[in-house]
Symmetry: D2
Subunit: 379 residues, 4 copies
């Protein structure tokens, strides 16, 4: 695994846990953790359960005892690492967004296609597909329970940078992060909505906004300006993006990604209305899917709170009895389980790098529309 | 009062009730109900408590015992009746949307301004401003409790025409209704959002959609086509409209009005996020305002469900003890109470016809943007 | 109508409104309001729409233009007024609890039975039966949709006397109110639960508590004690009552009535679990009934929020389109509508005085159990 | 660890994960798993990460490489194993309820006290104390934020044995399980309520019920009766228990534990009302604590949904960013973390075996009251 920050920790927990809950065709062993600082990487490896460390990911990619590379670094390094790993014959799990630009994503998708021909698998880590409630929503749509889909409204709302004194971390810098709320969390709702519908967005009309244009440098504690205030830097990404869109099947949609929705912490919300029913989901209540069955008598209709913890629900049966909820980390366990099963079955897991590329193209269309007077922009 | 259908019934209940709960400067008496069919109008007047009837609204407008005209007809007749009534020196309460076109609305607003100079008052019936929870939201914003407003997401979701066999009623015909979901319910969320923020929308980017293009004629039971099926007519209005927008103060917004959101019956929903706090409202739970105070410690924050039934809440003190909820009809009682007080105080009540005209301009900008590739359109 | 305080106002609104929404066999006319103070009663009659006043209810009962007497006074006067009115051949609608003691209630029930034989009708005003959601719950149980009922948990939670400085109003005095939370709001949940189940409680085990034993006299502003503090009086009723019980059909139940549940304003809550399904209701969200259909597949089960505003729901069709909620007052309109229909049909309306007597016996059993070490006490 | 069923699996996940998220004074190593069947135990050890197995817990207790024994067996074996382990100088974590009888629990508590004097620690596994929201509730009460506590209503609702064909598993047999819903889930709400209040129940009045008296034998597939139906056995425990109680500080309480609440899967719910505020919790939404601050203006009051995922919340900071919820398993990780810290600090962790004994005494009082006409029974 490359990277040991937030994403590295949750991926590690997934690798460590998956074997205890799922009957796997292969048993993963956690061989190497790679990071730039030896001391920090060793400490992380020790606490997270990795057997050894490397300070250069290129060494990790070369090692014979590594069969799968899990990339948990910022987006600007994804392409280089993933392509190198695939060429070295390692299966690759790559954090989202797949890359920072469409060009990089295209190169990665091409590499993944080539690798697939040699039996080397790749997957992009849109973990929210593996929330049992989201997987159940997908299943209901696929079974036709919602009929013809008319509406999608998807939001990913956070509030962690509302304070103008919050520093200019890497996620607020275009060269490292590619974009702001759009690529970080907007990518998730784009993928989740397309996954649930089983359809792609065909076009969008967008506006983006940066509410706070300058922020204290992240290491500003060290460098005060002459006036005694913190040194400031330019925020080069969006704080929020909102856009309308159309799906291939005719549904119209609205999307919103923001880090300025005070009081909303990790509200990945999606509502889908079809001619025969509707579903509604909010990750802040991740064990619940709200389902309205419009085929019932009007006097009995209404959104019902399905606690997605039954043995018959996607993934849920592997864990605890009904009502004993899962948490954020379990979605990653489901992800690596599906990846391992696909590898073993000799099949490409989803979402593929092509799926990641397609999301990247939507992000790109959003930015182009926002820069062109919100004009309709095809994906 | 002109018109005795849905809106006429609820306005009548308001006139009949207002005196029992509010200490009014004048006591309304319900003089005349006007409708086209004498028999139906007389029956309606009898059950709703009107003292007499007219079958021509022009007669009603002439009567000396009429001091205020309440217009509850479809939008295509608003301009003619309102202007005539104002010129006859009658105060006018007019249902929304103010008119079916910007031109009509401008003529009405001009007439209202002229009448105001003569002490004759007018008001457009955006009743949702008078939901206590909405009035409380307005108050919190005005007091600065939400800080700088960043986000508005407003939806008005209904589902009553999802069935393709639902007939082609007047609300689905452009010549009578002006527009579809946009003017009927979109107008409400535009007004409500602008009211809560105390700001106007400056521009929009929109898409509209008509999912079901043809429907059985409303009187099709009588007229079957040659093939034995019902005769069909063209739906000439939108089924749904979604748009993004910007407010004068810098907030970005998304709006959605639809009659195809299965399971949502009258979900006028609005969430506003500011730098210091947020509010969230859904008319399906009309007695609740959800308020997040971002100035509290993070460990104590969260949306709280304020039951807007306290004596100190807007309008609520006139009714029942805390927790004994109000219903839809009470918002109209608040409306006529405010109108009567304004008349008595010699002041123009709000929303004025100018406010109604401004909403009409937003509706017009939405339609123009939707017809021009979603391009940004200033209001 | 006798009494013009809180209950008088809401009953007046019901009488004033019922004819506009329901097609009644008889049209009520609001003849006389009775109260002790002429000035206050006249003012109330004027604002509430009563044609004349009496300062002695005995005069009201005698009048030929009075056919129905509506008793909205404190419980200690119910028996005398109701019996006199019934003997005078007037139909009687009496506020709950029917009386302050079982003895009074028995006399009233006997009078009602005798009157019924002469075609004179009586009804006790348990208005919560007429919440559409409660009526729908009753209907679901009656149709067998919940199967065999196993559990009832009913609570009526308020918080208006938490402050120890809240004065000693009549509702806190045993001689006027009979009991405290128990008779005032406990009576409602007993009746509501028995109504929904269509069964009676057969026994109870209870505890009651008075948290604040002394309070300032209600008129203490005038009478300060020698020490300069307000004069205090003894609270002679319960602040809260909780009890377990068994229903005739085998269900076990818990009940709680309190005025000390901070943050709960008028939370009449009831949940019923049966072998085939469950319902849950909270008056603070009065337009919603939550229904779990246990016959569905486990993967699709869950409590659904039925918005009880459809044309096919009890009472709801007379009002507004779906989703346009009702309020507290409408339950009284339904009550008088049902009473007028019963009178016209020559039938006894429910709940009868016998039903009121039965509730009184449960209240009595609760108090006896609480006074006897919580021992099981049959009703 | 002794036992590898449901509880064994979740304890294993806790031991496996704790070191990756908490900075521990000692690093646990998972030495031995004990179970009766060698094959099954070995398979479980392999998947759950235990280094070796024993088929007799007495061997496990003797081993030098075992410093802590984690008991996950049914209640009838707790006393013997725990006492032996403590005497062998091993720290003991024991699943709840501590024992099946007060006598056993007393012996265990005595052994724990003796062991403590020798530096050997013991803890009973009431894991719900370690839900961050429950720990936050405790903290709010301890800080006085709720003022004087008046009311507790606690419920633990499940529905997994509603079907009369559900077989007679060990949890439905008194000799193995001690009691039914009462000891299994009632014990949890007793402990949780006492933990939050920091007070003990002083007395109770109870009823218990067994709705389904006979069930098919668990291994009935093999043994059909002469009539061709499944062989039936007697259910010897309660299906449900409800009781009222009083806390040392004056609060009155109602409790309910049932496995017959259709639609409720794992609804451990508790609401506490105090003079200054209230809290409400439901494990089905385990990341939320609802808090009403009654010291705010009435117009701003209301239950707020605190998402207990902030860095400053109990336990939560060790995991993910705000809004990325935890699940059931994390509560056990918190438990073993606290236990390891206590061992390292040379202190007794809570809840102690004495705490477990006290809960056992409440369970006993409940059963005695239920058997004695619900008479008030002191604990």
């Amino acid at each position: 695994m490359v990277g040991y920050a937030f994403m590295g920790r949750v991926h590690s927990q997934a690798w460590r846990s998956v074997g205890a809950f799922f009957d796997l065709p292969v048993k993963p062993s956690m061989a190497v953790l790679s990071g730039r600082s030896r001391a920090n990487t060793e400490a992380a490896a020790e606490s997270m359960g990795w057997a050894s460390v490397e300070t250069d990911w290129k060494e990790l990619v070369k090692r014979d005892d590594v069969h799968l590379v899990d990339i948990c670094t910022p987006g600007d390094s994804h392409a280089e690492i993933a392509i190198a790993a695939l060429e070295a014959g390692k299966h690759v799990l790559c954090e989202k967004p797949l890359a920072n630009t469409v060009e990089e994503a295209e190169a990665m998708a091409a590499a993944a296609r080539a690798a697939s021909a040699r039996g080397v698998r790749s997957m992009v880590a849109f973990n929210y597909r593996r929330v049992p409630a989201v997987a159940l929503a997908r299943q209901l749509v696929a079974e036709g329970r919602l009929g013809t889909i008319r509406h999608v409204r998807a939001q990913y709302l956070q509030d962690w940078i509302v304070d103008p004194d919050f520093p200019l971390v890497w996620r607020l810098q275009k060269d490292k992060a590619g974009s702001g709320a759009l690529g970080d969390i907007g990518a998730h709702i784009i993928d989740t909505a397309q996954f649930i519908l089983g359809e792609h967005l065909t076009g969008v009309s967008a506006i983006t906004e940066t509410f706070i244009k300058e922020r204290p440098l992240a290491d500003a504690s060290a460098g005060l300006s002459a006036q005694g205030g913190a040194e400031m830097g330019q925020v080069t990404v969006d704080d929020a993006a909102i856009f309308t869109g159309r799906f291939g099947g005719g549904a119209i949609a609205s999307f919103e990604a923001t880090r300025f929705a005070t009081g909303r912490k990790n509200a990945l919300r999606i509502e889908v209305n079809g001619s025969l029913g509707s579903i509604s989901f909010d990750f802040e209540s991740l064990n619940e899917l709200w389902f309205h069955d419009h085929t019932l008598a009007a006097e009995e209709g209404g959104f019902r709170r399905v606690l997605v913890t039954e043995a018959g629900h996607p993934y849920a049966g592997a864990w605890w009895p009904p009502g004993h909820g899962l948490g954020y980390e379990n979605t990653f366990t489901h992800e690596v389980k599906d990846f391992l099963e696909a590898i073993s079955a000799g099949a490409d897991p989803t979402p593929t790098f092509d799926d990641g590329l397609q999301v990247q193209k939507v992000l790109d269309a959003v930015e182009r529309s926002a820069g062109d007077d919100s004009r309709w922009t095809t994906v």
